[in-house]
Symmetry: C3
Subunit: 205 residues, 3 copies
């Protein structure tokens, strides 16, 4: 699975992805909790900012997993870029997803059909702007499947709930798959950006 390219995520790269996902998740979840979009119904664990401890762990682990998967699929295809350009691209992608996350927190009280179309359209803008290969589709689908699936289970277990004035299906917001699709593409692309250089340079002679 691509190991022949000699590229992969180091432990430091995986830790960075975990940290980015955890912090981004905390910021977005704060928006959802403060706006009443979501509410925690059970708090067996301590709160971190506005989130139950399991939430940043889930998003951080998911981000690291998606980055690892993305590099496995076609990490060798990535174009080389300077450090400044990689940082700029990472900031752009992270800001886009956090912005979409915050936007979903402003959709209470809005006409829900238009709000839902807006979120999916922006998710597609983000996905199409940053995707570079078929691996991004895989990451987007995995993020939507596991992310939304987990939230459906937790909502059914009354661990937390979405506000009743939001368009919902199976207990979660109708726009939720869109948010996870965009997140999945970006988490995978962050993996590509953080992938280690070849550990051994090819012999030059």
């Amino acid at each position: 699975m691509g190991s022949g390219t000699g590229r992969g995520l180091s432990a430091a790269g995986l830790a960075s992805l975990f940290a980015i996902g955890a912090v981004g998740g905390l910021i977005g979840d704060m928006c959802h909790v403060e706006s009443g979009t979501t509410v925690y119904l059970e708090d067996p664990l301590p709160y971190v900012w506005k989130s139950q401890l399991w939430f940043p762990f889930m998003v951080g682990a998911g981000t690291a997993a998606l980055g690892w998967i993305r590099v496995r699929i076609d990490g060798g295809e990535e174009r080389r870029a300077g450090d400044a350009d990689r940082l700029r691209r990472a900031a752009l992608m992270i800001a886009a997803v956090v912005g979409l996350y915050a936007l979903t927190a402003l959709m209470r009280g809005e006409p829900q059909p238009a709000a839902i179309v807006l979120v999916y359209a922006l998710a597609l803008v983000i996905a199409a702007a940053f995707a570079t290969g078929p691996g991004d589709l895989v990451c987007a689908c995995l993020a939507a499947l596991f992310g939304v699936g987990t939230e459906i289970v937790l909502a059914a277990a009354d661990t937390f709930a979405y506000a009743s004035d939001i368009g919902r299906f199976a207990g979660v917001a109708t726009w939720l798959p869109g948010l996870y699709l965009a997140y999945g593409v970006v988490a995978g692309q962050l993996g590509l950006l953080l992938a280690a250089e070849p550990r051994e340079a090819p012999p030059s002679g």
Copy 2:
């Protein structure tokens, strides 16, 4: 008119443009109807989803016409790109316009001057991000002229109406020309993406 380049839209290309425009129009119009931004006052024809049958026909035909015109103007200039990249660019442009369409459906109840500036600014972002030549300006102006013109006539005929709490001129929303300008650029660019390869390869010997 550019026929010397040997490139043009096939019947399948025109049908694709019609379909994209019709479906995009249905999604956007659904947002407008559900949010009360617009209301149909006469329904001589059957409804498709939330739209009177003439609406998706109008947007579909307009999209095909704009694509055809755009290719005529300077279709030969387009850079070649792989199929994956063309699909990605098409998705990006379509999502951007549908997103702007949905956003306009959220502008009731907002301070109208700021809402109007926001829509025009985003329309300019879309136009400037995707335009590649003077033909895009032509398509943007044609779309605004015919689209807004048609809506003014239909609004005057009481076929439909914009909500009274929206900033309006001549019976239509003040932000409407902005939406059509962005749509015109994207419809033209979709034409370029779908333009057929040269029908006859140049002799190789």
Copy 3:
């Protein structure tokens, strides 16, 4: 300071930057005043549209200063581009900042934590999309420092005020530094776009 590159802003270039900043500032301030986001408490000077005369002067002068500074820092690095492409890029950047300005005028009545995260995320999207070098960070910080600093002083002097239903610090909106950061990057980049060609071609022999 970079004068060896032979490039710089002409008087016409500085005047263009002043005009762009003044007009953009007037449009944005109109959005803020019309939405009640800000209100002028003292009007010693005549109004231009909805702004006290000092406001467009401040934004125009700031834009010219930031453009001038940006060219000093690393103006020589800029890639050459055709006039059409430069116009397109200028329109894109200006529309993005004016759009963000208008969006901030729609944040009254929204849950403030999410509104603030949204504005900062979009500011970072704009900064990361258009920045090309370390000079952009300098311009962003200078704009935030002087822009926010000036507004804090003027708010403290009761020259104008932000609405009390907006998240605020030191009398100004909490999202204000984000708006200035994005503005600073774009003002600097407009300077680069307008920088004059070398006044004397290097000797060719």
